[in-house]
Symmetry: C2
Subunit: 209 residues, 2 copies
DNA sequence: CTGGCGTCGGTGATAAAGTCACAGAGCAAG
DNA sequence: CTTGCTCTGTGACTTTATCACCGACGCCAG
C-alpha cells in the first residue's frame, strides 16, 4: 500500500495510522488536478504516471514549469496547504496517474513525528526550487533552437513524438510560429521529419553546428 | 534578542534553548553570504538590512532572483542544508544586514517541536515558489520596456536611483545595451534624466502608452 | 465519396530584444 | 594634465516575438 518512498520510511505504528487517513486516487490522462486560484486540500504524493505543472501569464501565454512522476511530491501544494492561498499554476495529468493525498492535519503530524518525513519533504522542496531556478536561467538566457533541440533529444534520441507545434510552444514558453519555423529548419537539415501532430527524429540533434 | 517573528512564536523553554545555539551575525554591504557551489551550514533568518539573491548562467549572464529583507527566511538554504548539495545561486548584501544562523540540528529540532515554526517555514517556502513562478512568467512573456519602467517606478516614483546600466541589466536578466537604449528612449520622452551611475525619475513611468 | 468545418502548420512583414564591436565621456589618482 | 578605468551610446546584424493570413489535413454528416 505504501507505494511511495517517503511513506516507506515511516516507522510503525505511524505508518499504519497514516495509511488510514490517506486517500488513494487514480486520475485518467487529461484530468486537471488543480487550476489557478483553486484551494488545496491535501498534499499529493505521486505514485505512478506523469503530471505536468504549467502556468498561464496575464498575456494568455502558457509555459510548462515542471513535471512530476513516480515517487515525486507535489511540493507546490505545501505552500497552499499551509497558508490557505490558492494555487498559481495548474496541473494536468499526462499519463494516467495514481496519487496518495495527505490531508493537512496528517501532514503536520508526520512532520512532527518523523525525521525521515521531514528530510524527504525538504529534499523535494530543494529540488523544486532548483528546477525553477534552472528554468529562469533557461528562459532568460538560452537560445530557442538549442532548447528545442534538447527537448526533442530528451524525448526521443531517435523515434516519433506525438505533439502539436502549439503544445511544444507551451513546453518552451514561446510562440507557435517560432516553433514551426525552427522545426522547419531542422527538417531542412534532415534532423527531423514533420507531419501533422507528429515529429520523427531522424538525425543527431545535439552537438551539431 | 529574538528579533525575528518565527523565533518569537517559539514557546519557552524552547526559545531560550534555541537562542543559545543561534549565532547572530552582522554583514556589511557588499559582503557575499554564499556563492554558487558552496555548502550550507545553517539557515539564515534575516533580521534587518537587504540581501539580493542572483544566479549566473553558463553563458555568464546573471539575473536577480529575489531579495530578502527584515523578517525573511532564506528558504533557498533549506534544500542545501538538508541534502548537503551546494547552492546554485549567490547572495550579496545590499544594505548592512543582521542575520540569525540556525544550525542544522537545531532546525530539525524546531521543526519537530514547534507547529508555529513549521507553519512559518512552509509559508516562507510557498512565497518563494510563488516569487520564482512569477519571475518565470515575467522573463518569458513580458516586454522589457514595461518591466524596466515598473522596476524604476517601484524604486522611486519620483527621485534618484543610484545604479549603473549593467547592474540594472542584471536585475532584469537582460543585456546592458538593451537597458541603455530603453533608458535613452525614456529620457527622450522626458520621463527620466540620465547621468553616470544615476537615474533621476522625473515623470510618470507606469500606465503610459 | 464529397463538401464543409475545425484544427494544424507555413510564411511574409514588422517590431522587439539580444549580440558584437567599438568609440567617446566621466571620473579619480598620480 | 595625463593616464587608465569604468560607464554609456550607438551602428549593424541576428534571433525571437507578434500580427495577419492562407492553405493543408482529418473528420464527420449528408
Amino acid at each position: 500500500m505504501a507505494r511511495h518512498s517517503i511513506l516507506q520510511t515511516l516507522p510503525e505504528p505511524l505508518r499504519s495510522q497514516a495509511l488510514e487517513r490517506i486517500q488513494f486516487m487514480t486520475f485518467p490522462a487529461g484530468q486537471v488536478l488543480f487550476t489557478a486560484g483553486e484551494r488545496c486540500h491535501g498534499l499529493p504524493l505521486v505514485l505512478s504516471g506523469s503530471v505536468k505543472v504549467q502556468m498561464t501569464g496575464v498575456s494568455g501565454h502558457s509555459i510548462v514549469l515542471y513535471r512530476m512522476g513516480a515517487d515525486d511530491i507535489c511540493t507546490l501544494s505545501i505552500g497552499c496547504l499551509m497558508t490557505g492561498r490558492g494555487y498559481r499554476a495548474e496541473a494536468v495529468v499526462e499519463e494516467e496517474a495514481e496519487a496518495a493525498m495527505i490531508p493537512r492535519g496528517l501532514f503536520d503530524r508526520l512532520l512532527e513525528q518523523s525525521p525521515e518525513f521531514r528530510l524527504g519533504i525538504m529534499e523535494s522542496y530543494g529540488r523544486r526550487l532548483d528546477d525553477l531556478m534552472l528554468l529562469v536561467e533557461e528562459v532568460a538566457f538560452r537560445r530557442m533552437d538549442e532548447r528545442l533541440a534538447e527537448w526533442l533529444a530528451a524525448r526521443a534520441a531517435q523515434g516519433t513524438i506525438a505533439i502539436t507545434h502549439q503544445e511544444l510552444a507551451i513546453e518552451l514558453g514561446t510562440a507557435r510560429e517560432v516553433v514551426s519555423r525552427l522545426l522547419k529548419e531542422l527538417e531542412r537539415r534532415g534532423q527531423v521529419r514533420l507531419s501533422r501532430g507528429r515529429i520523427d527524429v531522424t538525425g543527431e540533434l545535439s552537438g551539431l553546428d
